[in-house]
Symmetry: C2
Subunit: 335 residues, 2 copies
Amino acid sequence: MMISIREVARRAGVSPSTVSRVMNGTANVDPIKRERVLAVIHETGFAPNELARALFKKSSKIIGVIVPNIENAFFGELARVIEEEAYQNQYRILLCNSLNDTKKEILNIQTLNRLHADGIIIMTNSENLAAQIGNCQIPFVILDRKIEGLDEIAFIEADHYKGGRMAMEHLMDCGCKQIVCIRGPQKYSSGQQRFLGYCDVCKEHGLQAQWLDCDYDYEEGLTAAEALLAQYPDVDGILACNDMVAIAVYKILQSRGYRVPEDIQLMGFDNIRFSRLFTPEFSTIVQPIKEMGALAVQIILKYVQEESFEKENLFDVSLIQRQTTRRKAEANEKQ
Amino acid sequence: MMISIREVARRAGVSPSTVSRVMNGTANVDPIKRERVLAVIHETGFAPNELARALFKKSSKIIGVIVPNIENAFFGELARVIEEEAYQNQYRILLCNSLNDTKKEILNIQTLNRLHADGIIIMTNSENLAAQIGNCQIPFVILDRKIEGLDEIAFIEADHYKGGRMAMEHLMDCGCKQIVCIRGPQKYSSGQQRFLGYCDVCKEHGLQAQWLDCDYDYEEGLTAAEALLAQYPDVDGILACNDMVAIAVYKILQSRGYRVPEDIQLMGFDNIRFSRLFTPEFSTIVQPIKEMGALAVQIILKYVQEESFEKENLFDVSLIQRQTTRRKAEANEKQ
DNA sequence: GTTATTTTTGAAACCCGTTTCAACCATTTA
DNA sequence: TAAATGGTTGAAACGGGTTTCAAAAATAAC
């Protein structure tokens, strides 16, 4: 059933080389023969075996994408952008859900290596991966994270530090006096930098930094929110480490009868789609997800084409005020 | 750098065939030679080229997954389950985001065909795809949809009809008198069946079916909700075609000052993760996403292993009452 | 000790598209 | 008209595991 290039050649009365040249336009072919070949391809529905081509070319036109969890809205949005950008450049996406399991990550990197993937876009934390990434000849792009000790690898990150600062400054503009930070995992640069931004603003205003630890995750957010209320009963501003945690915090606040933003104001981070769909809509820090994902693919394309590219890519962030915070001026107007 | 099986063979003083046999355990090998081979593999870090293997075996250990949009929580959850099940069986996932673009779907099916994917799990509507799927020798599984005229293809679906009935009956139990259905696209079997369930319950109770059309999508949900309020000002129960639309409806209701569930009760469909995270938590119909995704992979594995499998797979649904509906009995208790 | 049987082993063919290289044909130029 | 230049073309090699098949080695049977 599946027909080969040799069979096409036989039927068209030419050599396989000529068929290859017709398909790829890699050399001139006598117009009469070209037509014969195209006719045979058309009537047999011949489709070249991509594995054979990839084997010879040492390129499978596949980009590996390793995310912690595709179910997570932030990574879902990134995956969507990456797939789209790749598709437009005739690349396909091999998706791996690592669940932050280093063993699974390594296994997936090995698989991609053996499949001669043309690049790997990875969103992970594991410093343990440094070695693995180091002796892989595939180009890597590390997205939304930064791993120390890998000077040769391209990074793409939002300016988490600035985001942390902006979020904190915004809560102060909103008149909050007791602002507590639910900081993200300190093993991730995003968690570190956001928290650092918060701390620096505290310092500049002579405030004492107040924080709790939390994973980037809804369930953890519930626990953290309860601990927060117990520990800081007079809190009036909460800086959540991301939108999912902010959603969890809201749920707890609401069940305890706190009003947002009247009693407690709340900031998220990431601007995932749901932060806008929620009622109330969440004030948050915007990461340019679309641009970041597209750049990740672009870097791999440039690597393949041996063009140069920037290794360190820091994307600017911005703040969107929605319904969980209210500037002092606006609050006064309403009074 | 990248070493081949022939080089391993040379260094171990055996033939490539023997190395292959050691790696795959396809035949007995003299223990001394086996050790020599394993030692060389270990010290060189040799990893067999998966493309060469796949070329010969005509199997790439890749399963294609075509979803309308990975950003959509429902498909994100399905993709996650599918990836996990595939991974546990040494398969990898090639993800395609079709955006319901038939051209893109066809192109992706062709790519998967040329890559000798071992199976394709597709969530799509296009009847136009029937022909394409028909003359593909790869096993297909159609998930969450049903396409008429493809008797040979495996389908996996939740019992949308029952779900539609249950949702409607629940709203009636909750004392709603004016129940309007925001029905999903009638080109999908899910849209048809859910609506049919609603209609049948109406008929059985001598009620007039009242409905509006809407896509499975938040933005469309906003429009539909506004139209609904204009058209049916005395509505007191809304049956949304899925959770995303229910979220949109809630947003409109809330902005217009309606209370849920006191003034209007609201049912979703799918039980996506966010339906529980929202405030209020949404009453909805549960599709067994996990089981459905796992079965899709299992069917492909069975096909590959030439075992038999069920072609028509209808999964049972159930109802979860949360905070957007309230049974009459409960309402009375509270009075 | 010899023959029969089983196990191990490697050479070569295979999967299939691509590319190189030399042969071939058709123009141009001298 | 002969030599030189340029464009077409196909045979063969290539990429790298896998498998077949027959030879070689080892064991069993007589």
